[in-house]
């Protein structure tokens, strides 16, 4: 038992070492995903560190990160594999003089003519990898089916070649901004992790980790203020990365106290829309 509890703690420690401060829930889910060999579907607002989680897991475990960025219109040839038809044509030309027997399909449909895309690359990899399928909600609902075989069986079926099965089960992370509902089939195959904005206390820890020289008083003021702004009606609420940018800005300016003037001058680091800045200033009564 102690060994096992140590492992969740180890996951948290490893992530911290990679610069990622996870809460217990995140740590437990990452640990379970590795134990049960299941993909993790990470959902939450933009800028809460969903993609970073996968990167940090890769860094902490020393595995290679393979990334598939999803977009509308992503198809098999970009996600899984593609036949290199130019080389296939050349091969056919080479055998032009031979008898037709040597033109058997196996000649042109061999592994050497296969261009591996991220999913196949993750399956075929010799060493263990972390597979990040980013912004899966951007896929059309029909294209989601491309992922199902990889996610549940860790294999890829190629009609001309057969089935390629993973030698090492890759650790898979899917991220979604919940811009649309994902299919039940996809969700069933994954463990679900919601990452929301951190509490001011946890965000203060994150700021301390990444901007170590900032005055403690400023750290807590920054995170309190960011938490307040995230509740306001903003077009784009500030992300964790933007909080860190702001903290770095204040450090560079040598600020010791968060005054109204200072906020007004530097708020554009945190907020990227004119209207949001106006809303924020009103919210802060500046």
């Amino acid at each position: 038992m102690t060994h096992i509890s140590g492992t969740v703690a180890e996951v948290l420690d490893g992530l911290r070492g990679a610069g990622y401060l996870a809460d217990t829930t995140t740590g437990t889910v990452v640990y379970l995903a590795a134990e049960l060999g299941k993909p993790v579907l990470v959902e939450g607002p933009a800028g809460t560190g969903k993609t970073q989680l996968a990167k940090s897991v890769a860094q902490a475990t020393g595995k290679r990160l393979i990334r598939l960025q999803c977009y509308e219109g992503l198809d098999e040839s970009k996600a899984i594999y593609e036949w290199d038809y130019r080389r296939q044509l050349l091969q056919l030309q080479l055998h032009q003089g031979d008898a037709t027997a040597s033109l058997s399909e196996a000649g042109v449909f061999g592994e050497e003519f296969l261009l591996g895309r991220p999913l196949l690359a993750a399956i075929r990899s010799e060493d263990p990898v972390v597979l990040l399928i980013d912004e899966v909600d951007r896929l059309d609902i029909e294209s989601e089916a491309l992922l199902l075989e990889v996610l549940s069986e860790y294999q890829v079926s190629i009609p001309e070649l057969g089935t390629v099965t993973a030698t090492h089960v890759p650790q898979v992370f899917l991220t979604s901004n919940n811009s649309r509902d994902l299919s039940e089939a996809l969700k069933r195959r994954c463990l679900f992790l919601h990452i929301g904005y951190p509490s001011p206390e946890r965000e203060a820890e994150i700021v301390r980790l990444h901007v170590p020289n900032l005055a403690e008083r400023l750290v807590s003021e920054i995170t309190e203020l960011v938490a307040l702004l995230r509740k306001a009606d903003l077009k784009k609420p500030p992300s964790i990365a933007e909080s860190l940018d702001w903290a770095r800005t204040l450090l560079t300016l040598g600020a010791t106290d968060l005054t109204d003037d200072l906020i007004r001058q530097t708020l554009s680091v945190l907020l990227k829309y004119e209207r949001d800045i106006d809303t924020a200033l009103a919210e802060l009564r500046i």
């Binding site: 379970l32 049960l36 038809y85 056919l92 679900f192 307040l228 010791t256 106290d257 005054t259």
Partner: protein, 487 residues
């Protein structure tokens, strides 16, 4: 533990969270892997395996807490021995300290002392909530937290502020000379509000724990009527529930717009060299068969006619939110509002979306009233057919949102038929309960045969059903079967 898990899964299913057998097995496996005496780890393990939607996490946590409500905490006896005044001082310290364990201890004690929960009192615990909130005195607590000398946090801050002043003299440029900083004040208020809200939540949880200890989880769960956002009747929803609905609109509209886009006519496909060459490999590189690129997502024009009249006014609030959400995902959306007149509000909707605000109902109805302010479908449809029908194409999808109550006027079915003929598809969403359809002045049955689909849409779940049925492509002609032609 497996028995408890099965019970929890049953509970989840009973409140409408679908848990598959595979997910149940995953949860069991997860439990076998983690340490069971760590409640938060157990919660995380069960949650990630059983709940796959963000909106359902709160419901899960509620049920999980009910199922795992434990006994008395250490320190409870100590707190119980305090006088009321001492308890109040302790609470003031606890609430500012951010120590969740201590807050929970306080909450339990407040409920024990002031909740007045006796065996046999109503299960919902409404009176207990009121009594305990009164005893806690939130306004007083907030005031105390805001007062400069109260609580640890503020005191520490003052000390640090002094230190900051010293450094500020050397570093300079930070504007330390100013006395009252409005942002700092606002932040202190926000911090006090957060602390008070956290304790309020602690009190609610403590009452639930007390009730569970007395009555058992089943009874409490039944009395709390856990409702999911998508099942809430939009017309009678509370403000909090409306917010949950608002959050759920996004993904729904995404699907709706995507599917409506699919319904429009596809463009001619272009030749794909890559696919053609792939096919040609089987024939020695000679392209016998041609392959085309996959269809590009078509860009249809969606035209919405939204009823803003009094009979659906409770619903039109939601309609407007839906429209703004649709506008954020569609390039070509035209919106008309109508009562007994017709007004195009495409600009208003677009502007509201860009500004990120909601549309006022009066703003939307402006121009839609001609005389009386009670709906006149006949005039509106004729007007629409006359002025806009020639702008409709096969790529247009018309969506009418309204109750089809004509106030006994002419329904102008011929005008609707003309609109139908020019547009690619026509759908009707009716916010009235199906049992009232074709009753009184409702003529939905007259319009129904011309629509590809007519759907009751009182809840988000029903709208989701509508979207799903569109996705399947075999839109059930709902009204033709159930409502029948009207007399």
């Amino acid at each position: 533990m497996q028995g408890v898990l099965a019970g929890l899964v049953d509970e989840l299913r009973s409140v409408g969270i679908a848990v598959s057998i595979g997910e149940h097995l995953d949860a069991a496996q997860a439990l076998a892997t983690i340490q069971l005496n760590d409640k938060e780890a157990v919660r995380a393990a069960l949650q990630c395996a059983l709940v796959k939607r963000t909106e359902q996490i709160d419901t899960f946590n509620l049920l999980f807490d009910l199922y795992t409500a434990g006994g008395r905490q250490p320190g409870a006896d100590l707190v119980a021995a305090m006088t009321d005044d001492e308890l109040r001082d302790a609470l003031r310290a606890a609430i500012g300290s951010g120590d969740a364990q201590l807050r929970r201890l306080m909450a339990d004690e407040y409920v024990r002392r002031f909740g007045g929960l006796k065996p046999g009192s109503p299960v919902a615990g409404v009176f207990a909530t009121i009594a305990v909130n009164q005893a806690a005195g939130f306004d007083y607590l907030r005031g105390e937290l805001l007062a400069p000398s109260a609580g640890e946090t503020t005191a520490g801050e003052v000390a640090e502020f002094g230190g900051g002043l010293g450094q500020g003299g050397g570093g300079g440029g930070a504007g330390m000379g100013m006395t009252a900083q409005s942002a700092a004040t606002r932040l202190r208020e926000a911090r006090a509000d957060r602390a008070v809200a956290a304790f309020r939540a602690d009190l609610r949880a403590a009452i639930r724990r007390a009730l569970v200890a007395d009555r058992g989880a089943q009874a409490v769960r039944a009395s709390m009527r856990v409702r999911l956002a998508e099942d809430i009747d939009i017309v009678s929803a509370s403000a909090g529930e409306l917010e949950a609905i608002g959050a759920a609109i996004g993904p729904l509209v995404q699907r709706l717009t995507h599917i409506l886009a699919q319904l429009a006519i596809r463009k001619k496909r272009t030749l794909s060299i890559r696919r053609t060459m792939h096919l040609a490999m089987g024939t020695g590189g000679v392209p016998f068969r041609l392959a085309t690129e996959p269809a590009r997502p078509p860009r249809p024009e969606i035209v919405v006619l939204a009823d803003m009249s009094g009979s659906v006014s409770a619903f039109s609030r939601f309609t407007l939110d839906l429209l703004v959400a649709m506008d954020s995902r569609l390039r070509r959306l035209r919106v008309f509002s109508f009562i007994d007149g017709l007004a195009e509000i495409t600009g208003v909707v677009g502007e509201a979306r860009a500004a990120g605000r909601r549309i006022d109902q009066r703003e939307a109805a402006r121009g839609a009233v001609r005389h009386s302010g009670s709906s006149d479908y006949g005039f509106v449809l004729r007007e629409f057919a006359r002025r806009y029908a020639n702008q409709l194409t096969r790529r247009s999808v018309v969506l009418v949102i309204g109750d089809a109550r004509t106030n006994y006027g002419d329904p102008a079915v011929d005008a609707f038929a003309e609109i139908r003929q020019r547009a690619g598809q026509v759908y009707w969403l009716n916010p009235e309960p199906r049992r009232y359809w074709n009753d009184g002045d409702s003529v939905i049955g007259r319009y129904a045969p011309l629509c590809a689909q007519v759907q009751e849409c009182r809840t988000l779940a029903q709208i989701a059903d509508f979207v799903r049925s569109l996705a399947v492509g075999e839109a059930p002609r709902a009204v033709a079967g159930t409502a029948g032609p009207s007399g």
